[in-house]
Amino acid sequence: MSSRDPAAPRRGTIGGDTFAFLLRASPVQWIAPHLRPRVMVAIVTVAAVLFPIVIRNDADTDAAANALSYAALALGLNIVVGMAGLLDLGYAAFFAIGAYAYGIAASWQFTPPWSGFWEPFQYLHLVARFHDTGGDVVHFQVSFWLMLPISAALAAFFGVLFGAPTLRLKGDYLAIVTLGFGEIVPIVARNTPTLTNGAMGLNGVAAPQLFGWSFGINAMPYYYVGLALVALLILTSLRLKSSRIGRAWMAIREDEIAAAAMGVNRVKFKLLAFATGAAFAGATGTLFVAKLQTATPEMFMFPVSVMILVMIVFGGIGSIWGVVLGALILQILQSWFLEDLSQWLHALGKLIHVEWLQHVELSSSIELIFGIILVTMMLYRRQGLIPATRRVQALSLSEQTAQVELSATPAAKRLAGFGDISYRGPDPLLEIKDLTVRFGGLVALRSVELSVPANSVVAVIGPNGSGKSTLFNAVTGLVSPDEGSVRFAGESILRLPPHVVLDRGMARTFQNIRLFPNLTVLENVMVGRHARLHSGMVGALARLPGMVHEEAAAREHCLEILALFGNRLLPRVDHLVSSLSYANRRRVEIARALASNPKLLLLDEPTAGMNPAETLELAGQIKSLHQHGLSIVLIEHKLDVVVSLADNVVVLDHGEKIAEGTPDVVRRDEEVIRAYLGRSASLGSTAVA
């Protein structure tokens, strides 16, 4: 596409030139660009594996093992906060649940009297019978390796339990409820000493064993388990992010309403995010307690939740590699650097005879530093160290100013591969009867009737505030109607949630454009495909052939849809939609709706803000969609568009239908002229527009 060589020296700032020169001179240049990420991963992996062997210092390996635990926690919180956009301030609670689960299942804390009930468990080596002076008791000795997944599942269960009440509320409330939850869990741990030994904490938690060899207190084995866990969680995060699930999460983060209207089941996917994040913390808690061999309520208080939040804010919210880096840097800062810096300051104080410098203990002010990092990052670098959204090269001047070429093959022909988007049932495709919507005292729609026969274009017109968009919202499930019936293809869809309405085959656009601003053009359109894809968690994580094939096909399909708009969108598929022009955003929104294979497309002012040439172009494209068999309901102010497209026009005024008929009939209707132009105009003129 572009004739520009990306490696060519850039004229401009000195810094840019120097950087480009260094890049050219560095060994990085010897590696083919598409291999660079893999080489980076390989280098990091080798370095991480060799670290304890090279360092040969148990204290440093121990600190590194702890840092890995926090990296695992940061990855989990990143699923909740970074991908799904749900602020969780009590994340340490799930860490605690995983920690206490293993702590209780592998220590002498809870020893009920022995009975026959425990025999099957004894057979499975989960418990042992222990002879005590007061009678035989049960000793729990569940394997660490078994507890890793169990703790993850247990934490996920609590994640769902505590996420569920708040999911219908605004995101802010989740923050406060999780804050409360984060406080409650340590309190419960402190107040139930039979299970947790209260404030004193669990003691003597068994170290993990591998083929009969106990990990003991040496840090090295824990380091490797932590490394494996982090690697697994990075892989999980990466695969989820590029799957249907990850896209649904990011869509919810960007615009919940639009996500629902595009077929994403909000409740299900928010709970899934919450459960996944909690599961990461549960498994990490088990590892953490196995390493420390103790667990106290203080290990899981609010400051821990804040620290993990600081890690992901510092590394880059939503950025998988970023949050790992953020966690490692802050842990290194805490474990090593602040100690050293304090020593240097003491020495400096001695040197220049400043008394207070000799007593500075920076490591005790780590939480203050965390607070400062949080505020500073939010004010000056919200994207963090490694931004989650990658930048793409801007289009060259020639690409930007390229002639609009509408594809050689007509749009309708391209659509042939889309599958069946026409409806041939006996009933009208959409039939609205007696639809009434009230907002408090205001009647937004009053007993509106509307019928959309199969394979037709119906335009809804009316002055601003006449209830057109409310009609769309009521039909698609965003607003709950007070009275009336809505039938789609013969079945009632009244009060169905938006994602179900989309699944039935009705997709919409929004008057004020509701795209997902921080996703690319292609990702936006792929979200529109959500309801037609079926891969779940297992498919995404294991990269099952079915899922890989489905994703590739979906991508192809979405590119085909984008090709409807010729070279308007195709050169920009990897650009963030927030960087697009207004007209292109409207096109992306239409493409996103089309990706769900709708039988009926609801377009809310599709040509608003477009110039006459663009309007004509889009009207032609809508027309070709219709010719292919797609039925369309159109809200539009530009009457020439209405006249050229619509078979039937419905006019709303003050929430009531005042006229209906062919465009020619409607434009001569006295009532319509009066609604648009007022009474006096209707006397002097006979036509609108």
């Binding site: 602020l87 605004k170 802010d172 409330y173 804050l179 107040n191 005790s364 203050l368 965390f370 949080l374």
Partner: protein
């Protein structure tokens, strides 16, 4: 004491706690009503204010329960302490708004909320590092005057707290409903864009909300000190969570709701602590928060603010 007497005593205690929570809840609700932002910094503005109040009282040589004042001396000292604490807290709130939150205005998502957490954490740690972790003895200049009511005891402390809270809440009510700026606040809370187009200086309204909310937190902090006779760097967390629950219970964004919610939470804490054990109080309060959010997200007096779409 009979059960009825104990109950009456806990009602008296609960009303005092409730007055404090109501004042603190007003700060959450004022800011949320206008910016739709949960201001976590409010937790520790309250905590910092309690130290400011302590230092203000110490200026008169008051420490612990050693010096007891009466008459005009007592009233003068209390007025001075409340004015200084409320002004300082109000200024602190305005500074936070101006430097940490205004740059983020209009940015969607969790950025502003995360910033308030950061600010809260900074305040928390500044006090921890400068004052230390042990709780401080709060000066108590109030004479120990008591009136028996049935089997319960009503102390001068309680009566004073009620009067102060009543005066402040009446003042706020009059301000919001009777003044020009109060009208501008109500308009901004309804629709900030429309208010701006009508010529309302929205920045000034937001600063006012932060100033008033934080000043009331200052008053609540002084009441906390006078009630418990101590302060510490950790008091912001649990008091803040209770006050936030009060604001939600009353209907967040509603001034009346925050007052009523505060009193209710105070009563629930006092009576609930009597029925169950005190160590479970936090669990009870948190359960109320969750139950209200699930079953009545608009609270007692709220507009349809909490649910989305």
């Amino acid at each position: 004491m009979t059960t009825a007497d104990i109950f009456l005593q806990q009602v008296i205690n609960g009303l005092s706690l409730g007055a404090m929570y109501a004042l603190l809840a007003l700060g959450f609700t004022l800011v949320y009503g206008i910016l739709e932002l949960i201001n976590f910094a409010h937790f520790n503005v309250f905590m910092v204010s309690s130290f400011i109040g302590m230092w203000a009282l110490q200026l008169f040589g008051l420490s612990g329960q050693s010096v007891v004042l009466s008459g005009f001396a007592l009233i003068g000292v209390l007025v001075f302490a409340f004015v200084v604490t409320m002004l300082s807290a109000g200024v602190l709130g305005v500074v936070i708004e101006r430097f940490a939150l205004r740059p983020l205005r209009g940015i969607s998502g969790t950025a502003a909320m995360i910033t308030t957490i950061g600010v809260s954490y900074i305040l928390f740690n500044i006090i921890l590092l400068t004052v230390g972790a042990s709780s401080m003895n709060f000066p108590n200049p109030l004479p120990n005057i008591t009136w028996p009511i049935a089997g319960a005891v009503l102390r001068l402390r309680e009566v004073l707290i009620w009067i102060i809270a009543l005066v402040l809440m009446t003042g706020l009510h009059l301000f919001v409903n009777r003044t020009r700026l109060g009208k501008a606040m109500r308009a901004t809370a309804q629709d900030a864009d429309a208010a701006r187009m009508m010529g309302i200086d929205v920045d000034r309204v937001i600063i006012t909300a932060f100033f008033l909310g934080s000043a009331l937190a200052g008053a609540a902090a002084l009441i906390f000190g006078l009630y418990y006779n101590l302060t510490s760097f950790i008091i912001g967390y649990s008091a803040g969570l209770r006050a936030f629950t009060a604001a939600v219970l009353g209907g967040i964004g509603s001034v009346t709701g925050a007052m009523v919610g505060g009193i209710l939470i105070g009563l629930i804490e006092a009576i609930g602590g009597q029925i169950f054990e005190v160590r479970w109080t936090d669990v009870i309060i948190f359960s109320i928060l969750v139950l209200v959010l699930v079953f009545a997200p608009n609270g007692l007096f709220g507009r349809a603010a909490a649910t989305r779409s």
